[in-house]
Each structure stands twice: as structure tokens, then as C-alpha cells.
């Protein structure tokens, strides 16, 4: 009996000790903002000025694909999350689930954004704006110009031909690369259907046969930086700009077939209990200062959506700021598949990776 009581007490004590781990976490600032983000928003360089100005703390949780991000939200309690970074073309998926709050257009610098990236069709529903584009760029052909002939990089055919066999890496994200494969055979990324998949499959398999590796963000950078690969399918400023200082030979092209435009938006949750702070955060990220810091975030660089971003001339040159009007004209958006087609595309991607 005594022993039973003893063990009970011990077990109780250990539970309390374990619970204390949670409580021991720093009490933190008065207000906290819970943000579901991509890795570029975790940079202290971006968050600190906002935290200091508002006496708040931004808690960030990184996620990969939209499906996974929405799953995180669904497993949380309403009100757990305040803001989310999401592919602009996927804003609809959050709206369909009734997750997002309309944004007050008059309080946001919409007039300053590059007009091509506002993407009203994808972010406005029933006359209300649910997402605002904050950063964009291209999934195209990234390369090391000291190692390849830059003229070859003007056509997507180089990816399926055998001139650079074994010197190519493929960025491990199915949507943009499937988009590029579609463009290589003259299809529009916006109109893809299941009937197009067999032809896209052929292109992907030819690319895979040429490829050395299928790499995530950092492995892509590593592969180009270490000379492991000379060409990155799906690469762009987001992989070359951040390391341009160390290796000025890294560059990207927009081939004659065009490139895939990636674009990320900020959205606010309907159930957020801190909508004022959430709006302030969105305003900060879209301000010229926030835009410059986001554009040059340590995880990856990208074009700021705001034309007035306070970037240095050097940073603008690296991002090829002046050439944007031409690039934007030739770019197409991410494929925006239905959930059923999305699953098929992911299975196709898995099949490509597993191909011997």
C-alpha cells in the first residue's frame, strides 16, 4: 500500500516535472502572433523590427506544401493561427474552407505592387480580397555560366537533350517543374488536365534520365555552389541570388518557352483573435522596409511584390529588378490543379523519382 502511494506520488511528480517544460518556456512579450509560414519568414532580420516596434513576439511554424499547411490548420483549434503564407494560386483553397478573413484594401499598398502579381483572379472572391502577394519569382533554368553555354539556356529543350546529361539537378517541387514540362511541349500551365499527364510524364522522365539528383531548397543551392550540378531545373533568383556574392557565375534565364511564375501571398485567419496585430504584420511585410528584408531573407531571395521596396542598387541588380516587366510578360502561373488532379500529379512526381 505504502509503495503504491509512493509510486503514485512519484509518477505525479514526474508528470508535473514534464509539464514544467512547457511552463519553463520564456513567458515572452505581451502579445504573440502565430504565423504559419515558409522559411523566408523565419529570418530574425525580417521579424525583429516588427517585434520591437509592436512589443510583440512572432511565433513561426514552417510548412512545405499547401496541403500540409491546411492540414496543420485543421488539426488546430480555431483561433490558434493569425496569419499564413500561401501560394497565391492556393488562396482559393483556404477561402473554400472558410478559413480566411477579407483584407481591408484601403489599408494596404495595392497601388504600389507590380500589377502582374496582384493576381486578382486567384485572390479575390465575391469582390473581396483574401490574399495579398508579398513576394514572387520564377521557376526556370538556373545555371553556372562558367560551366555551360548560356545560349543553350534559352530553350527548355536543353533539359531533355543529352548535351548536359549528368550535370542537371531537378528542384524537388512537383508543381513548378510539371509546369515547366508542360511549357516545354507548348501547353499552358493554367489549362492542364489529366489528359496532358502522359505527355508531361515523357518530358519528366527524360529530365530525370539527365539528372544527377532531385534536390530541395538547400540541396539545390549546395549542388550549384559545389559544382555537383551546373543546371538546376526549376531554379531561379530564389536559388542563385542569395549566393551570388560568393559565386557570381550563378545565373538564371527565362527561355523562349517562358518560365513559371511563383508567387506567395499573405492571408489572415477569420478566427484570429488578434486581427489588429495580424493586419499590422501584413502592413509591415508589405512596407518598403519589410519588403526589402523579405526579398533578401536568409532562406531564399525573391522579388518583392512592392515596386517601392527599399533595396540597394546592388541587390536590385542581383534580383534583375529592371528586367521584370519583360520577364513577367513571358511567365505563366503555377498549375492550379483540383485536389484530385493534384494527387495524380504528386503520384507522377513520385513515379519520376523512383524511375531507374
Amino acid at each position: 500500500m505504502t509503495l503504491a502511494a509512493f509510486t503514485r506520488r512519484l509518477a505525479g511528480a514526474s508528470f508535473i516535472a514534464l509539464a514544467a517544460i512547457g511552463l519553463a518556456a520564456p513567458a515572452g512579450a505581451a502579445e504573440e502572433l502565430n504565423a504559419l509560414v515558409w522559411c523566408d519568414h523565419s529570418d530574425p532580420n525580417l521579424l525583429k523590427p516588427f517585434e520591437e516596434a509592436n512589443g510583440a513576439k512572432v511565433n513561426v511554424k514552417e510548412f512545405e506544401g499547401t496541403g500540409a499547411g491546411l492540414a496543420i490548420v485543421e488539426q488546430s483549434k480555431p483561433g490558434d493561427w493569425d496569419v499564413m503564407v500561401i501560394d497565391s494560386i492556393d488562396v482559393r483553397r483556404g477561402v473554400d474552407r472558410g478559413l480566411f478573413e477579407p483584407l481591408p484594401e484601403d489599408k494596404l499598398p495595392l497601388a504600389d505592387l507590380f500589377p502582374e502579381v496582384k493576381m486578382d483572379a486567384a485572390t479575390m472572391f465575391g469582390g473581396k480580397r483574401y490574399g495579398i502577394t508579398e513576394k514572387f519569382g520564377y521557376n526556370t533554368v538556373g545555371y553556372n555560366k562558367a560551366k555551360v553555354d548560356a545560349a543553350d539556356m534559352q530553350s527548355l529543350a536543353v533539359l531533355t537533350g543529352d548535351k548536359y546529361k549528368g550535370r542537371i539537378a531537378i528542384y524537388d517541387y512537383y508543381l513548378p517543374v510539371i509546369g515547366m514540362a508542360a511549357m516545354a511541349i507548348g501547353k499552358k500551365t493554367a489549362d492542364l488536365t489529366e489528359a496532358d499527364l502522359p505527355a508531361i510524364r515523357d518530358v519528366l522522365f527524360k529530365m530525370k534520365a539527365n539528372a544527377k539528383a532531385v534536390t530541395d531548397v538547400v540541396a539545390s543551392q549546395t549542388a550549384l555552389a559545389t559544382g555537383e550540378a551546373d543546371i538546376l531545373v526549376g531554379g531561379g533568383e530564389w536559388v542563385t541570388a542569395g549566393i551570388a556574392k560568393e559565386n557570381p557565375d550563378l545565373d538564371f534565364s527565362i527561355p523562349k518557352e517562358g518560365a513559371v511564375l511563383w508567387s506567395q501571398s499573405l492571408a489572415m485567419f477569420k478566427d484570429s483573435k488578434k486581427k489588429d496585430l495580424a493586419l499590422k504584420f501584413i502592413q509591415y511585410v508589405l512596407s518598403p522596409e519589410g519588403q526589402a528584408r523579405l526579398a533578401t531573407s536568409s532562406c531564399y531571395w525573391g522579388m518583392p511584390a512592392n515596386t517601392k521596396a527599399s533595396l540597394s542598387d546592388d541587390q536590385k541588380r542581383i534580383l534583375r529588378f529592371a528586367e521584370q516587366p519583360d520577364f513577367l510578360k513571358r511567365a505563366q502561373g503555377y498549375p492550379a490543379p483540383s485536389e484530385a488532379l493534384d494527387k495524380k500529379m504528386q503520384d507522377l512526381w513520385t513515379e519520376m523519382i523512383q524511375a531507374k
Binding site: 509503495l3 512519484l10 496541403g67 500540409a68 492540414a71 544527377k212 532531385v214 549546395t222 559544382g227 523512383q354
Partner: protein, 278 residues
């Protein structure tokens, strides 16, 4: 045994038992139930399992995993055995502890960082290729990083150490008299080893091999960092379902399939895995 003694016995094992039931057995059952509710189709069906066996790119993840894991296990045993034998028999007794410590020391680095370090070591401009080219042994850099070979090297690094420990412990328990006796009976060193030492160290090998199998087949980091995604192993396929699509039912089904494979390995090794009391 008195009633109070029985009570004391139960009371002392209850916390551990409750913990295991609540946080190991119950989650497993929940996972099994969820795996039968496919995300897309909804309802109650075995679609996630049939999909696994119907889609070659899914079950190839399992065969890839088995190939890599078995190779790693074999390579690690072959490399570790002579090393453990040298440590146990040729190194003077008072230096053995230090020699073992030295072999374990590098594993006090973070294991995520260690895998990443292997990637840099094996890269085209990495130190291995760099050295081989400078020595004139290679004309141009060999492709090692981002291949299955890199995954196997990364795995073997850890498991050579682990197997060295289990085999060393086993060798130390053997009396040198066994070998002497075998020699007296006319067995040469090779026969003495094959017929006496090797069978007696089989438990050490099997315990290490089982641990290697279980830990390697469920590991995500090493293949993800070193394999260059030129093929997927089971843990990568599982994490892909969670990371990209949030498809928990499919991820659960894949986990259960992996669990079945590990259980088969356990049954195969069970006779060597008993916990003996002093």
C-alpha cells in the same frame, strides 16, 4: 507470496505499463484505424493498402528500403567484426576502454549535422575527391554524393560503431581457453575461428544486426540528405505524405506496412534478443 507483495509488485510496474499502453499501444491502434479511412474516398476501406501494392512507385520504396538496409547491415558487420576483434584481443587491456571511447567520440556530434557533413565530404569538390585527384588516383571527380552509395556510407558510419560495441562486448565474454582448446584438438586458426569463435559471437552480431536493421529502415535523415532523392525509401515516402499533402491516413498505412516488415525481422532474430538477468 503474500497479498501485499503482489500489490507492491503491481504498483511498481503500473506506471511503466500505463505509459506503454497509453502512448505506444493506443497510438498504434488509432493509427491502424485511421489508415482504413482513406483521405480522398472517405468511408471505411483498405484503399490505402491496395494502392500501395498496386502502384509500383510506392512498393519500390519498400524494396529500396530493404535493399539499402540489408546492404548496410552486411557491410557494417564485415567492417566492424575485425575491428572489434583487434580491440578485444590485440589492444592491451588497459588501453581498450580508451580505444572504445575514441571510436564512440565522433558520434557525440549531432546526427543531422553529421549526415550533412558527409554530403560535403563526398561532394565533387569535397575532401575525398579533392584528395584522390591530388594523389593522382582519380582523373576527374567521382559521383558519390547524392547516390545510394552515399546513403550507405552515411548509414555504415554509425552502424560500424554500434556493431563494434556489441561484438566487442561479446568477444570479451569468451574465454581464450576456447580457442586454445580448439587448437589442442588440432584445429588450425581458420577452423578454430569458423567453428568456435564465430558461433560463440553470433549473439553479439545478431543483436547489433537487428538494431541496425530497425534503426536504419526507419531513418529519414540519412537518405534524405545524402541520397539526392534519386530514389525514395519508405521513411521518405511516409514523410512526403505528411509534408506535402497532409495525408495522414496514407502515412499511417505506410507506417503500419513498415511496422510489419520490422516485426518479421524481429521474429527472425528473436532467439538472440532475450534479456538475461545477472
Amino acid at each position: 507470496m503474500s497479498l501485499s507483495a503482489v500489490r507492491a509488485g503491481w504498483a511498481s510496474i503500473t506506471p511503466a505499463l500505463a505509459w506503454t499502453l497509453l502512448f505506444f499501444v493506443a497510438p498504434f491502434l488509432v493509427m491502424a484505424v485511421i489508415s482504413l479511412h482513406p483521405q480522398e474516398a472517405g468511408g471505411f476501406s483498405a484503399a490505402n493498402y491496395t494502392q500501395f501494392f498496386a502502384n509500383p512507385s510506392y512498393w519500390r520504396a519498400l524494396t529500396n528500403s530493404l535493399e539499402v538496409t540489408l546492404l548496410v547491415t552486411a557491410v557494417s558487420i564485415v567492417l566492424a567484426y575485425p575491428f572489434a576483434w583487434i580491440l578485444a584481443t590485440l589492444v592491451p587491456e588497459r588501453w581498450q576502454r580508451l580505444a572504445l571511447m575514441l571510436a564512440v567520440l565522433p558520434f557525440w556530434t549531432s546526427y543531422v549535422v553529421r549526415s550533412y557533413s558527409w554530403l560535403l565530404v563526398l561532394a565533387e569538390k569535397g575532401i575525398v575527391n579533392d584528395t584522390l585527384i591530388r594523389l593522382g588516383l582519380l582523373a576527374e571527380p567521382a559521383q558519390i554524393a547524392n547516390t545510394r552509395l552515399a546513403t550507405i556510407i552515411g548509414f555504415s558510419h554509425f552502424f560500424v560503431m554500434l556493431l563494434t560495441l556489441t561484438i566487442y562486448a561479446n568477444l570479451k565474454q569468451l574465454s581464450p581457453n576456447y580457442r586454445k582448446a580448439a587448437a589442442d584438438l588440432g584445429a588450425g586458426p581458420v577452423r578454430a575461428f569458423l567453428h568456435v569463435v564465430l558461433p560463440l559471437t553470433l549473439p553479439g552480431i545478431m543483436v547489433g544486426a537487428f538494431l541496425t536493421f530497425v534503426l536504419a529502415i526507419g531513418d529519414y535523415i540519412t537518405p534524405q540528405i545524402l541520397g539526392g532523392n534519386n530514389e525514395l525509401l519508405m521513411p521518405q515516402l511516409i514523410m512526403m505524405q505528411i509534408g506535402r499533402r497532409g495525408d495522414f491516413p496514407l502515412a499511417s498505412a505506410l507506417s503500419i506496412i513498415l511496422m510489419v516488415v520490422v516485426s518479421i525481422a524481429y521474429v527472425a532474430c528473436a532467439r538472440w534478443l532475450k534479456i538475461e538477468r545477472a
